[in-house]
């Protein structure tokens, strides 16, 4: 391999430092023994222990997990179906409008999405809680699933499905035993994306939730206003760990999807 020039080494170091130094500081201070966030008083895992005792945080974490799992599953199903309709529906009436509308929530400011959902829930008289947050998260993350799955479907060779029909499959059997296994990496990547988006969403959740369902980002945000506690650092470190693992898995899976696309 070619050796990097000193300039490249410097720019890479500075770039990464700029990106990751704050996060690194946060991780380091989560192991701080001191009550004061900015004064280092030796290594300790005390705050992790206290975090696990904190009922309010644990409840919020449970709500977030529930919302994330439910909304990402709904979003994956809806997003995959939308991708199929776009890729396979031919030129049905309103196709352009439909594809534009599927992508709209991606570019729409979150505030607006959140506000409009809030208005909808109020006017329908739906009590706000876990259910409404799940609906809201499914709504905006299905677009991302749709984008990921559409990209895979656009390179999918239709004759594979015809071959399955030819060999005796019913259309549903052909979908289940040929189409789905081949596009599975994209569907899984879409699901992971939806899950991660739901985990760290603050804006839409705070618009659509009620007093009964406080998600972790809302909880963190509100407790920060009362001063940064080292417990938050510990919590953030855990979330960073979780998200990193999620992103790694998603990229590995998606790489598999791209390789699969090249081989068909």
């Amino acid at each position: 391999m070619k050796r990097m020039s000193p300039f490249n080494v410097v720019s890479l170091t500075v770039g990464f430092a700029f990106l990751y130094l704050p996060i690194l500081l946060l991780v380091i201070y989560s192991f701080n023994a001191s009550q004061l966030v900015t004064v280092w008083a030796g290594f300790s895992t005390r705050w992790y222990g206290e975090l696990l005792q904190n009922e309010a945080f644990l409840d919020a974490a449970w709500v977030t997990l529930k919302v994330g799992l439910l909304s990402s599953v709904v979003a994956t199903m809806l997003g995959t179906m939308a991708a199929f309709a776009l890729a396979r529906g031919g030129r049905f009436r309103g196709r352009t409008l439909f594809s534009g509308m599927v992508y709209a929530p991606i570019v729409m400011p979150e505030i607006i999405t959140g506000l409009s959902l809030l208005l909808l829930f109020i006017s329908l008289g739906v009590p706000r809680g876990v259910f409404t947050v799940v609906l809201a998260h499914a709504t905006f993350s299905m677009c991302f699933v749709c984008v990921v799955v559409s990209a895979r479907l656009s390179t999918f060779d239709r004759s594979l499905e015809e071959a399955a029909l030819d060999l005796g499959c019913t259309p549903w059997d052909a979908f289940r035993s040929v189409t789905l296994p081949i596009i599975a990496p994209a569907v899984i990547a879409g699901w992971l994306l939806a899950f991660t988006l739901s985990l760290d969403d603050l804006v839409i959740a705070s618009f659509t939730t009620g007093p009964s369902a406080t998600t972790l980002p809302i909880k963190v945000y509100s407790s920060i206003r009362l001063g940064v506690s080292p417990e938050i650092n510990a919590l953030s470190t855990l979330i960073i760990g979780l998200v990193t693992v999620g992103i790694l898995v998603a990229s590995v899976v998606n790489k598999g999807a791209l390789l699969g696309a090249r081989n068909t």
């Binding site: 004759s159 015809e162 029909l165 030819d166 060999l167 005796g168 499959c169 035993s177 699969g260 068909t264």
Partner: protein
């Protein structure tokens, strides 16, 4: 033994009756009528876009006819989906399932039949032996060469022992040498399994080599259905004659015909020529005559015993190893082609450029057709 298509008692496996297929404004098939008999190796031949794939997909159940009927094995196929037809297709792109192994691909259709597990395994082994891929059963399609993939696709399509196998340009992706070898393999497998094959190709040599009969298509219509020899030697139209190989075309006016043979006045030479009429011709009608280059004999002296002869000057010679092609300019400026085998090494004083020569051909080599 008479061939089934000459036997009026034989029942065809496929009966295509005045089938028309339109895609929006495009007419892909225009009133196609065709019978294909059990055990045939039937080739659909024609230029790009003439409707070959469309006809094949209609038989496979992937398209519905706009008009007309398709019967397979005596049953009207209207509305019958592909999974309910005793027909299998080998796709042009092979369409191997990338997530399954070679054995998994071959077993795919068998698993959707009533066979037991052990019967499926036995059948997969049999198919692997048939296409000589026993050692590669565990590989995935992307770990195979083009020729190996082609054989997996064939094995998968044959595994359910279909009555009818449809092949869409199965050899298109192979290089020339592998193609020729595979042509014979396909013929062997067809004979061994006694399956009816319908193959699409736009390579006339491929069709001539493999097929029991050929349908020459153009523009959604069938021009002629016949055995390879008859397609080559007695084409029914100029279009078929020129599609199926190089040919010399003479224009003239018919001046005598008894149905068995005919004479015409070759307009540019003002000479009477004889030949065999391919269509019914009336005296006084304009006609064209086709003569294959390899039937044209080149001599220095006038062959007075040959009824069809003409003088010209050698313009150039293309030496192709086993044969040479001579382009001879006639006195009206047109160029005539003659081809002959190079039996002995050419001597320096053999036919050279600018020599004056005579071209001649027997009556049986000339086909007189409507223009």
């Amino acid at each position: 033994m008479t061939s089934p298509w000459e036997d009026s008692n034989a029942t065809p496996l496929i009966r295509i009756d005045k089938v028309t297929k339109r895609f929006g404004g495009v007419t892909a098939l225009d009133g196609v009528t065709l019978d294909i008999y059990p055990g045939e190796f039937f080739a659909l031949l024609g230029p790009s876009g003439c409707g070959k794939t469309t006809l094949l997909r209609l038989l496979g159940g992937f398209e519905e006819a706009t008009g007309g009927h398709v019967h397979i094995d005596g049953r009207d196929m209207a509305g019958v989906p592909p999974n309910e037809r005793a027909v299998n297709m080998m796709f042009q792109s092979y369409a191997l399932f990338p997530h399954l192994t070679v054995a998994g691909n071959i077993a795919f259709g068998l698993k959707r039949s009533a066979l037991t597990k052990s019967a499926i395994a036995a059948r997969v082994d049999e198919m692997l032996r048939l296409v000589q891929l026993e050692d590669l059963a565990k590989r995935k399609p992307h770990q195979l060469s083009g020729g190996q993939r082609q054989r997996v696709a064939l094995a998968r399509a044959l595994a359910k022992a279909p009555k009818l196998l449809l092949l869409d340009e199965p050899l298109g992706a192979l290089d020339k040498k592998l193609r020729q070898q595979t042509q014979f393999e396909l013929m062997n497998i067809q004979a061994k399994t006694n399956t009816t094959f319908v193959i699409v190709t736009h390579d006339k040599d491929e069709a001539m080599t493999m097929a029991s009969r050929i349908a020459v298509m153009d523009n959604g219509r069938i021009l002629q259905v016949d055995t390879p020899e008859r397609i080559y030697q007695s084409p029914k139209s100029i279009a078929v004659a020129s599609f199926i190989g190089d040919t010399n075309i003479l224009e003239g006016i018919c001046n005598w015909s008894d149905g068995e043979s005919a004479t015409f006045d070759w307009t540019s030479q003002s000479r009477d020529m004889t030949g065999i009429p391919g269509n019914a011709l009336a005296v006084g009608e304009r006609c064209r005559c086709v003569v294959r280059p390899e039937q044209v004999v080149i001599t220095f002296d006038e062959p007075t015993d040959m009824p069809n002869r003409v003088q010209g000057i050698v313009e150039d010679i293309a030496y192709l190893g086993n044969v040479s092609t001579y382009h001879v300019r006639l006195n009206d400026g047109s160029v005539f082609t003659s081809q002959s085998m190079n039996r002995q090494p050419l001597s320096p004083d053999a036919l050279g450029v600018n020599r004056s020569v005579w071209l001649s051909w027997p009556e049986s080599a000339a086909r007189i057709l409507r223009p």
